[in-house]
C-alpha cells in the first residue's frame, strides 16, 4: 500500500467496466466450434457440394457413356468405383447423383425459406380470420400424402426432376410455415414490437427488422434438417421408379439399380448408398450443432 492508492479515482478509471460487443453470429460460431460432430457435418456438406459441382469436370467419362465391354467391372484404376451393368463409370454417376440429390435438397430449402417463412409470418401478423383460413389451407395440404401428389403429377408430366421439385414444393414449406407462425405469434406480444410500433414502424418493417431476425435460429435449424429429408424423399421416389429417369442418375436410382445385382456386384450398391448415408449424416450433425449454437439459452451461458 502506498500513498497513490488513496488518490481520487479519475473519471476515465471508472469506465473500466466494458465488455467488447459480440455479434450473434460470432457467438454462434464459437458454440459451433466446440461441437466436433457439427464441424464434421459442416465439412462433409461442404466437401460433398464442391465434389458435386466440380467433380464430374475432372473425369474423362460422362454419366451416359456406355461401354458394354467393360460392363460390371470391379473397382480399378480406370474406374475407381467400378462400372454398372451397361458399362457406365459408377464414380461419375455417383457424382452426378450428388448434383441431383443436393440440388433437390437446396431447392426444397429455398422453397421452405421463401414460401414457408413469408406465409407463416403473414398469417401470424394478419391474425384473426385471415390467419385461421391460411392455416386451415396448410392443414388440408398437410393431410394429403406426398406419394399421392407425385403420382398425380406423373399423370400430368413425364416422370422426372420437375415432378420431384413440384411435389416437394407443394409439401415442404408447410412445416416451416407452422413453425414460423408459432414463433411470430409469440413475438407479436413482445414489448419491443409495440415499442417499434410506437415510433412509427409499419407492419412490414416490423416483420423484417424485428421478428424474422428473432426467429432465425428455428428457421435455420428447420432448414438444415429439411434438406436431408428432401434428399431422402428423392432417393425413395427414384427407388420406386417415380423419380429421375434414365440415363440421368440420382442416388436413389443408383441404389435401386445396384440392389438388382447386390449378390454378384455389391460395389454397385455400396458406393451410392455410402454417399447417401454420409451426406445425410453430415446434414444431421450440422443441423443438431446449429440448434445448440443458436439456442438462446446456450448463448446466455456463453455470453
Amino acid at each position: 500500500m502506498d500513498s497513490r492508492d488513496f488518490a481520487p479515482l479519475r473519471p476515465q478509471d471508472r469506465e473500466a467496466i466494458y465488455v467488447p460487443p459480440q455479434k450473434l453470429r460470432e457467438r454462434g460460431w464459437r458454440q459451433m466450434k466446440k461441437n466436433r460432430l457439427a464441424l464434421w457435418g459442416l465439412a462433409i456438406v461442404i466437401v460433398m457440394t464442391v465434389i458435386a459441382l466440380f467433380g464430374p469436370l475432372f473425369s474423362s467419362y460422362s454419366y451416359a457413356d456406355q461401354d458394354l465391354s467393360m460392363a460390371n467391372a470391379w473397382p480399378s484404376a480406370a474406374h475407381w468405383f467400378g462400372t454398372d451393368s451397361l458399362g457406365r463409370d459408377l464414380l461419375v454417376r455417383v457424382l452426378y447423383g450428388a448434383r441431383v440429390s443436393l440440388s433437390i435438397g437446396f431447392a426444397a430449402s429455398l422453397i421452405n425459406l421463401f414460401i414457408g417463412v413469408l406465409y407463416g409470418g403473414f398469417a401470424a401478423l394478419a391474425g384473426g380470420k385471415t390467419d385461421r383460413i391460411m392455416m386451415h389451407i396448410v392443414d388440408v395440404l398437410y393431410s394429403i400424402p406426398m406419394l399421392l401428389y407425385v403420382i398425380l403429377l406423373m399423370v400430368v408430366f413425364k416422370p422426372g426432376l420437375l415432378n420431384i421439385y413440384l411435389a416437394l414444393g407443394i409439401s415442404y414449406w408447410l412445416n416451416m410455415a407452422r413453425i414460423v407462425r408459432g414463433q411470430i405469434l409469440s413475438l407479436k406480444e413482445q414489448d419491443y414490437v409495440m415499442a417499434a410500433r410506437s415510433y412509427g414502424a409499419s407492419t412490414w418493417q416490423i416483420l423484417w427488422r424485428h421478428m424474422i431476425p428473432n426467429c432465425v435460429g428455428p428457421i435455420i435449424v428447420t432448414l438444415t434438417l429439411s434438406i436431408p429429408d428432401a434428399i431422402f424423399t428423392e432417393a425413395f421416389l427414384s427407388f420406386i421408379g417415380l423419380g429421375v429417369s434414365a440415363p440421368m442418375a440420382s442416388w436413389g436410382v443408383l441404389t435401386s439399380e445396384g440392389i438388382n445385382s447386390m449378390r454378384s456386384f455389391p460395389f454397385q450398391l455400396i458406393f451410392p448408398a455410402a454417399a447417401l448415408c454420409l451426406t445425410m449424416l453430415g446434414f444431421m450433425f450440422l443441423g443438431d450443432g446449429l440448434r445448440d449454437a443458436l439456442d438462446p439459452q446456450n448463448q446466455k451461458e456463453a455470453g
Partner: protein, 330 residues
C-alpha cells in the same frame, strides 16, 4: 397554452373469450403543450390503455372504441389510417415503456434501434443517423455513446436500457411523450436518476409529458396536474397540490393514506379494504362504492357526475353533491 391532446369521453372495451371487457369508461383528459400531466391508479385501472389508445397501439382485432373522441392538435385522429398514424407516432408523440428488459429487441444493437426512428421519419443517411444517435445517447446521460451504439441490450444495465428507450422515444423530437411507468422496473436510485433526466429533458425540449404511474410520490415530484383513475374511470383531477392537500374522492384519500412516510415511523398504513372490481362485472353506479366507507344509497344506483371542489379541482363523488348538504341524513 394550446391544448395538444384532448380526449373526450373515451370508452374502450376488449373482446375476450370471457366476453366484453370494459377497460375504460368516459375518460376525459387533456394535455397542454409543454406541461407534465400525471395519471395515477392501481394496476388494471386503465392508465396504460388510455395512453395506448391515443397512440393506437391496442390490438386492432379485439379492441372496441365504444365512444369518445381523441383530438390531436385540433384534429380528430380516430379516423386516421394506419399510415397517417405511423406519421404521428414517433414524430409527434412517442412512448417510453415500462420494462426496459423487454422493450428493446435483443438481437439488434442499441444503435440500430435508435437509428430506426431517425431513418423512418427524417430519412437520414446511415452516418448522419449514427451521429444523431450518439448525440441522443449523450443527451440521456450515457457515457462513451459511440461505443454503446454497437452493444446489444443484454450488455447494458436496467437503468442504461431505460435511458436508451428514452433516447429512442426522443429521436424525432416528439411534442408529447407518454412515459408508461418508466421507473417501475428500476431500483430507487436509478429511478431518481431517470426521473431527473425526464424532468430536465422536458424542460429543455419544451415537450409535454404524460407520466403514468402507480407511485404517488413520483407523480407529486414530476407533475403539475394529475388524473386519478379507478376501474377505468377518472375519479378525480386537478392540480397536484390541491389533490394531495385536500383529496376529495374517498379513493384518492385512501391512496394517500396508504403511502409510507419515512418521517413518521409510527404511522399506521391503511390500505383500501376490498379489491378493484372485476372488469367483467362492473358495479352499477359509482365503481368505487363497494369499497367506499362513506357510500350512500345513491352511489349504488347512479354514476356520480363531476363536482368542482373548494380548492378548484374536480372529483366524481356524490359526497360533493350540493343537495347532500341540505339533506336530513347529513
Amino acid at each position: 397554452m394550446a391544448t395538444l391532446l384532448d380526449v373526450q369521453n373515451l370508452s374502450i372495451s376488449f373482446r375476450t373469450y370471457r366476453g366484453i371487457l370494459a377497460a375504460t369508461h368516459d375518460v376525459t383528459l387533456h394535455v397542454d403543450a409543454g406541461e407534465t400531466v400525471g395519471i395515477v391508479g392501481e394496476s388494471g385501472c386503465g392508465k396504460s390503455v388510455t395512453a395506448h389508445a391515443v397512440m393506437r397501439l391496442l390490438p386492432a382485432a379485439t379492441t372496441i372504441y365504444s365512444s369518445g373522441t381523441i383530438t390531436w392538435d385540433g384534429e380528430a385522429i380516430q379516423g386516421y389510417t394506419e399510415k397517417e398514424m405511423n406519421h404521428l407516432r414517433g414524430r409527434e408523440m412517442a412512448m417510453v415503456f415500462q420494462d426496459p428488459m423487454t422493450a428493446l429487441n435483443p438481437v439488434l444493437s442499441i444503435g440500430s434501434q435508435i437509428r430506426e426512428g431517425l431513418t423512418l421519419h427524417q430519412h437520414l443517411s446511415r452516418s448522419d443517423a449514427d451521429q444523431e444517435a450518439a448525440a441522443l445517447l449523450r443527451e440521456v446521460g450515457i457515457t462513451s455513446p459511440e461505443r454503446r451504439l454497437h452493444q446489444y441490450p443484454h450488455e447494458l444495465s436496467g437503468g442504461m436500457r431505460q435511458r436508451c428507450l428514452i433516447a429512442m422515444a426522443l429521436a424525432c423530437s416528439p411534442r408529447l411523450l407518454f412515459a408508461d411507468e418508466p421507473t417501475t422496473a428500476l431500483d430507487v436510485t436509478t429511478e431518481a436518476q431517470v426521473l431527473q433526466l425526464l424532468r430536465s429533458l422536458q424542460a429543455e425540449r419544451q415537450m409535454a409529458v404524460v407520466l403514468i404511474s402507480h407511485n404517488l410520490g413520483v407523480i407529486a415530484q414530476m407533475c403539475r396536474r394529475v388524473y386519478v383513475m379507478y376501474a377505468g374511470c377518472v375519479v378525480e383531477e386537478g392540480p397536484v397540490e390541491a389533490i394531495f392537500d385536500e383529496p376529495a374522492h374517498p379513493y384518492t384519500q385512501g391512496l394517500l393514506a396508504s403511502l409510507p412516510d419515512p418521517a413518521h415511523k409510527d404511522k399506521i398504513l391503511t390500505g383500501i379494504a376490498g379489491q378493484a372490481p372485476d372488469l367483467f362485472h362492473m358495479p352499477t353506479g359509482c365503481r368505487f362504492y363497494p369499497r367506499c366507507r362513506q357510500a350512500m344509497q345513491i352511489c349504488k344506483r347512479q354514476v356520480p357526475p363531476y363536482y368542482t371542489t373548494g380548492t378548484g379541482h374536480r372529483a366524481a363523488c356524490w359526497l360533493l353533491c350540493p343537495e347532500r348538504e341540505e339533506c336530513a341524513w347529513h
